[in-house]
Structure formats: C-alpha cells, structure tokens
C-alpha cells in the first residue's frame, strides 16, 4: 500500500512539474557559484563571469567568434588593429564606437575605489589604446604579445557615456586616462551602469546572487532565446537538484553523478553534457631534491627519475576511471590540454596502462616497495574528485607504492600549494585562450618578461620545452604558434612533470521541454537552452 502511495506521489510530482515549466518565455537557472557583482572587471569566478556575459560583450567570444570586432590583425610587431562592428547599440541606446573600447580599457586599468580589478592582467603589456576612427582601434604593446587578442576576451565593453571623459581621453596603464569621473563601486551596484551590448538587459541583481534579466530586443545579431531570465544561486548540489525537481528551476549547473542516475529513469527531466577545456591531472614535484610528502628508502626524490614518473602514469587505468567512476562523463586524457581544443595536437597517442611494466620500471630504478607518497587534493572542487583520488591511490599501491590520500578544503589546499608544501597533488585547469596557456604557466621555467612558469609547482625545467614555449610566446602567425605549442606539449608528455588523467565534462540538468547545448568553458548562458 505504501509503495503505491509513493508511486502516485511520484506521478503527481512529475506531471505537476511538467505543467509548471511550460510557463511563458522565462528561463529559470540555478548557478552553483553565486555571482558577486555586476561589474564585469571585478572577478573571473564562474558565477560572476556567467552572469556578466549576458549583459556585456567583448571584442571576441570565448569560442573565438567575432562579437564587437569584425576583423583584427597585427600591423607591426607591437600594434594590433581591430575593426569594430558598426550599428551596435548599448542597452541605454548609445552607439558603440572605438571611444568605448578605449574607455573600457581605461576602466580595466583604473583602480575603482582604490582597488585593482581582478582581470587587469588581461590587458597584459598594453601601453596604449588608440581610437583611429569611430570603428577602428589600435592596441600597442611593449613587445611581441601575440596572445593579446585572446586576452582581450576578458575586456567587456562598457559605454563611455557612463563616465565624464574630461577633455581628452588618453589611455594610461597606471593612471586615470584623464577621465574626471568613473562610476563608483556603489553606483555600479545599483545597476544603473550595467550597460553593455549583450543579448540580455539588466533588470535586478541582489548580492546574494539572484538576478533577473530581460531580452535585449535591439541586439545586433540574433536576439536571445528567452524574454526573461531568472538566475538564482544555490551552492548546495542536493538543494539545486531538489529545486529542479520541485519545479523552481528549469536548468541547473553541475548536478552530482548520483543525481544523474536518479534522472535517467525520469522522463520529465534530462541532462546535457559538454566536454570542457578543463584537464584533470596530477602535478609531480620533479625538480626539488626533496619533494614534500614524497619519501624513498634512500632519502632522494624518486620523482626526479623519469622511470618512476612513467611507472606512476602506466599504473593508472584511465579508461576504467572514465567509464566506471565518471559514468562516461569525461574523456581520457593523452596530454595536458584537451585534444579537441583549437590548436591542440589531436593525434597525440594514448597513454598506456600496463601495471606489470610499471612495477618493472620501479624495480629498474631501484625503488621497488620503497616509495611513500602523500597525494594531496582539494575536496568538493572537481566532479567525483575524491573517488578519483582514491582510485589513483589504489592503482599506485598495486605497484608497491604506499599512498596517503589527503583531501583538504580548497582554501587549505591553495595555501599549501602556494607554500610549495605539496609534492604530489591533483589539479584541474583549462584555458579559453588555447592549449598552450596552461602548460606555459604550469611547466615553463620562470620567465617574467614572457610570463612563463608562474604556477610551476612541478619545479620542472626543460630546455626543449622552454625553447618551444618561448618561441610560441612571440609567434604572431597562428599556425606556427600552434606548432610550437604542440612541440612543447610533446616534450611535457614525454617528461611527465605531471600526469594527465582526463578531460572533465560539464553537466547541466534540466526539464525535458528544453534542449541544452553546453559550452566548453564551464560557463552557463541562457541561450545554451532553447524550447523544444
């Protein structure tokens, strides 16, 4: 009897939710990370970036589509000239011109309320931004800086009419560009200046992370799919799923693997996945004489030995991790950036799984049954991260390595990492700016002028890798840059300063009456969804 009641309840729940979500042209989304501001330059965190992308546009989209730019090119080594789209209007009706690009660049560098914008590094070594005419703008750099156009993906364009420009607007990467008044932080928070060229217009935003947007009917391209978009923020994944099932939301970010199993038997709901640019990999301290948390019987750092690194990689069955632990919602990695990302070597050979060979390599290196590794990882950061960590620990113990898995909160983990206390750790990283970016930070020898090696926690240094990377950093020809990047990637995969595991997929759960085509950059945009 009870069973029947339960089934009836389910039926009622399902039919009610189907009725609920057929409502008007409104899309209700639940984010997993709360947007903290509608100022597009303040934070690169996913929630904030997702929200702001509805309102503001950059010159080029994250997937390299031309938005406010129609074409661009380097006229000499240090000048990037961008031609702008004509006939574009801001939400307040003002026309978009080159002046707005100069103003937005100034606003990016300007310390509003004395605080540096979190995305300032996007401007890189730009020394000047000049409006050549109304629809042409030139960016000048200190030296060769081919990835500038990629970096400018973070430069959201604001309306220069929102500030008092003073007599002459002249870009100045340390000062105020001669602008007499910028909208203050508080003014910005009122939404009065949430004025971009994006597909959706601002209606309301509360700093607890809820926002309401409406369609911009004057958009220059195809208008948005939805008349109205309501964004809520629900950090707890269970609560997010409950909200979907309760009919509070139409689309939610990042459901857990367990929740997906529950959805599979329910025709009212569905989920969509998209391979993301994030690679999950292990970082190995291969350079220090003593790697923290890694010990061998003879007191050396065993990770310095390439045979040990190869053994660590060979012992992991990536197919099993992807199929069994990730339920197929991941792609086995063969390198440190997804093979499907633009510019990557798509023919990189698979990384083998051969536990016997791994044991043999350890024996050859003289480290049979003598290595202890503390495998550190952040909790609640990557999908199924903890279980993957446990699997790695088991694979390694099978070849005679003693592994202590240490899972810590993100804050504790980050502190340990910056203090370089982590000899071996799991990390996830992806870049909208192409496959070379991540390895240039993670495995390059520290090179400040070229901005290489800033996050090299492997303490890795390889002349071959650096040669390819430094050539890449100043190569303006895209095809050649890709070649250098692929050469560097081959060196890294050969040397294994880290161990690639898999490329994560992003997942969105939603009602069955909408279809969703996801994005590879883990952001959520209303137009990903359309009504069936």
């Amino acid at each position: 009897m009870k069973y029947i009641n339960f089934k009836t309840a389910c039926f009622v729940a399902i039919s009610a939710s189907m009725m609920g979500s057929v409502s008007a042209d409104t899309l209700r989304m639940a984010f997993s990370v709360a947007p903290s501001t509608i100022d597009p330059f303040k934070s690169s965190a996913s929630g904030t970036a997702s929200l702001n992308e509805h309102l503001y546009e950059a010159l080029v989209s994250r997937t390299n589509d031309k938005l406010l730019a129609t074409s661009y090119g380097w006229t000499d080594d240090t000048t990037l000239v961008v031609n702008l789209r004509e006939g574009v209007k801001f939400h307040n009706g003002a026309d978009f011109t080159a002046q707005d690009v100069v103003y937005s660049s100034c606003r990016m560098m300007y310390r509003v309320g004395g605080k540096k914008n979190m995305l300032t590094s996007a401007m890189g070594p730009v020394t000047d931004v000049v409006a050549i005419d109304d629809y042409t703008v030139a960016f000048k750099t200190v030296g060769l800086y081919p990835i500038l156009i990629q970096k400018l993906k973070s430069l959201s364009i604001l309306d220069s009419g929102d500030a008092d420009l003073g007599s002459t607007l002249k870009f100045d990467n340390t000062g105020d560009c001669g602008i007499t008044r910028y909208p203050t932080k508080d003014e910005f928070a009122t939404g009065k200046y949430a004025n971009g060229t994006g597909k959706y217009k601002y209606e309301s935003f509360s700093n607890t992370g809820d926002a309401v947007l409406v369609r911009n009917d004057d958009y220059w391209g195809n208008p948005g799919n939805w008349e109205r978009v309501e964004i809520s923020s629900v950090g707890n994944s269970g609560a997010r799923m409950a909200g979907l099932l309760a009919g509070d939301y139409d689309l939610i970010e990042n459901p857990t693997g367990e929740d997906l199993l529950a959805l599979e038997g329910n025709s009212a709901y569905s989920f969509s996945t998209e391979p993301s640019w994030r690679t999950i990999f292990l970082v190995l301290d291969v350079g220090s004489d003593v790697a923290p948390g890694v010990t061998a019987a003879d007191g050396t750092n065993p990770l310095k030995d390439i045979r040990v690194r190869q053994a660590l990689s060979l012992s992991i069955n990536r197919d099993a991790i992807v199929d069994k632990l990730m339920g197929g919602n991941a792609t086995v990695a063969s390198q440190f950036a997804p093979s499907y990302q633009n510019g990557a070597d798509s023919s990189m050979p698979d990384l083998a799984y051969d536990a016997d060979k791994a044991r043999q390599l350890l024996a050859d290196a003289g480290y049979s049954d003598s290595i202890t590794i503390n495998l550190r990882m952040p909790t609640n950061k990557y999908q199924n991260g903890k279980r993957v960590g446990q699997a790695i620990a088991q694979y390694w113990s099978r070849i005679g390595i003693e592994v202590n898995l240490v899972a810590e909160p993100w804050s504790v983990f980050r502190k340990g990492r910056s203090a370089r206390e982590l000899g071996v750790f799991m990390y996830g990283w992806g870049h909208p700016q192409g496959p070379a970016q991540m390895i240039s930070y993670a495995f390059g020898t520290r090179n400040k002028p070229l901005n290489l090696g800033g996050s090299n926690y492997s303490n890795y240094s390889s002349p071959d890798f650096d040669a390819a990377m430094t050539a890449w950093a100043v190569e303006t020809d895209e095809a050649k840059a890709f070649e250098y990047n692929q050469a560097a990637m081959r060196v890294a995969v050969e040397d294994l300063p880290g161990i690639p595991l898999y490329y994560q997929h992003s997942i969105w759960a939603h009602t069955s009456d909408i279809s969703v085509s996801g994005r590879p950059d883990e952001r959520t945009f209303a137009d990903m969804a359309s009504k069936n």
């Binding site: 639940a30 501001t37 303040k42 690169s44 932080k185 609560a239 804050s411 502190k415 910056s418």
Partner: protein, 322 residues
C-alpha cells in the same frame, strides 16, 4: 544593578577581545585570502599588489591592531570577496535570518510548551507516550537530514512549497521582509519548520520535566485542596514555575538560531547571515568572519543579560534579593 551591568560590560569586553584573537589568528592558519582571490593566471606581482591592497603584506600583529583599532571606531573593515563594508553585508542579510529565526521560535514555543505540559500532566496516557516518542526522534535525528526529508516530501513529491530561495520580499521600515507576502511565507515555511522541529522537541521535553517536578510540589496539592480551578492552577501555579528554565534556554536558543542556522540556510539557500558566514569561511574572507563572530559574541552577552533581567521579573526570590 549598576554594579551588575558594569561587571557584565567588563566581561563582554574580555570575551570580544579573546574571540577576535582566536578567530583572527585561526583564519590566518586556515588559508591565504590572496590565494583564494587570485586566478591561476596571476603573476607574482599581481599577487603582491593584491596583498598590499588588502593590507595583507604587513606583519600579522600589525594587521590585527589595525583591524581592532578600526573596529573600535565602528569600522568593521571591508570584505575581501564582496569588496564592500562588512557591516553593510551583515545588516543586509540580517533581516532574512531574523525573520526565519523568529518564526521558528514562535512555532517551537507555541507547539512545544502546550505539548510538554499536556504530556507532563497526562504522563501515563497513550498520547503522551506517542508525543514523547516523536520528540525523541526529532531531537536525535540530524537537522540537515530533516531538511532533506522536508524538501523531498513537500517540495519534490507534493510540490506544495518551493525548495529554496527567499521568494518575493516586501519593504517595511526600509528593510526587505519575506514575512509580508504569501510567496515569501511559502518560501519561509520549510526552512522555518526545519529550524522549529528541534525547538518543538526541546521545549516539549523541558516543559514536560518541569511540569512533572512542579506537579507534586506541596503548594500544588494545597492549591488543589483549596478547590482552585484546574485551568487557574495550570496558568498561575504551574506555567509560571516551569517558565524559568524555559526562559533561560529560549534566550540562548534565539541567539543560537540567529547566529548558527548555517546548515538550514545553506540547504535551503536562504540568504541570511548563516550562509554568509559559511561562504566567507570557505573563501577566507577574514574581515567578515571575525566581525561576524565578534558581533555574535556581543549578541550572546546581551541575550544573557536580558535573560537575567527576565529571571528577576519571573522569580520574586531573585527580584527581592539584596
């Protein structure tokens, strides 16, 4: 009385200072705010700039003295994450927590005490046993589990109530309240009941044991012998006497509800201060966490003070003590 108040002030000062020390240095041990705020793309120089901006480049003791010095002048600092004054953040979110706590408390008291008195008087009845059984279960199952069950039943299966968020708010005294609209109340229902379950159970047990103790006092027998009506005995003699422990506990519980309804707030995505605290701890937003906990300490001190005064009003022995 003045002596009593002065002593209380002195104690609360020491408490606040101790609290600030523990939390300030504790947060420092847990994580590095610069690391939390910076992107993987940040250069070393970006991180140094950020540290200087946040005042984190100075030695820790200096940071502490700057922080406490500012606080004495009423400036609780600026949140690292939200980039806004901490006090504004807390005050903005306080109404959400206040209304949900008060609603939970009202539900808890109005159901818990009558149930307790009933089961105290009719101790051996079947109904009393059933009530006690349920309150024991409610008392001992974890709060978050109850929250999940509530969501499952009322939001997912029955679809009567929304599962999360605050819903429509209306303005009163320049503050946004959910209490004032039907939609807001619907959103409040589940989190308030979630918070109230524990209160109901506790109040029931308190009232029950109090009732049983008082019921057999000589003055109760005397009152009955005098022929006073049953209703009057319960109201004048029983209720008054069992209220003393209830007032103490309720005072502390109100404080607890306001300060630490973090679990309920995060499960129901209720945008109150508990959720703010949790989010800030995750992000190592030190100014928010320290200021929050100091304010909470002061609030508890104040509540205790109010409780003591209430005692004096309720219990003539304390009132007339010299």
């Amino acid at each position: 009385m003045i002596n009593f108040i002065l002593k209380r002030l002195w104690h609360s000062g020491i408490l606040a200072i101790t609290m600030s020390l523990i939390v300030f240095f504790g947060m420092y041990v847990v994580g590095d705010p610069v690391e939390m705020l910076s992107d993987d793309e940040f250069t070393e120089q970006d991180k140094i700039d950020l540290a200087i901006e946040l005042g984190l480049d100075k030695p820790l003791y200096e940071q502490y003295f700057t922080f406490t010095g500012d606080m004495l002048q009423g400036d609780f600092g600026t949140s690292f994450v939200y980039n806004r004054p901490v006090l504004d953040l807390i005050i903005e979110r306080l109404p959400a927590t206040l209304e949900i706590s008060l609603l939970a408390m009202v539900i808890g008291l109005s159901i818990g005490i009558p149930l307790g008195i009933f089961s105290g008087i009719k101790n051996n009845s079947r109904a009393s046993k059933i009530i006690s059984f349920f309150t024991t279960v409610g008392y001992s199952t974890p709060n978050f589990w109850q929250a999940i069950i509530l969501i499952m039943v009322f939001a997912v299966f029955l679809q009567w109530l929304p599962a999360s968020g605050r819903g429509l708010t209306n303005s009163m005294f320049g503050v946004e309240w959910s209490l004032l609209s039907i939609d807001g109340l619907r959103h409040m229902a589940l989190p308030a009941v979630n918070l109230a379950i524990y209160k109901i159970c506790m109040q029931q047990r308190l009232a029950k044991s109090g009732t049983q103790e008082i019921l057999y006092q000589e003055y109760m027998t005397y009152a009955r012998a005098k022929g006073i009506s049953r209703y009057r005995i319960i109201r004048r003699h029983l209720l008054r006497n069992i209220l003393i422990p209830i007032v103490t506990i309720t005072g502390l519980e109100v404080g607890g509800l306001i300060a630490f309804s973090t679990v309920t707030e995060s499960i129901f995505s209720w945008p109150g201060i508990g959720k703010l605290l949790l989010d800030s701890i995750h992000m190592i937003d030190r100014p928010v966490v320290v200021a929050y906990l100091i304010l909470i300490t002061l609030m508890f001190v104040f509540i205790n003070f109010v409780v003591d005064v209430m005692y004096a009003i309720l219990d003539p022995r304390i009132r007339h003590q010299k």
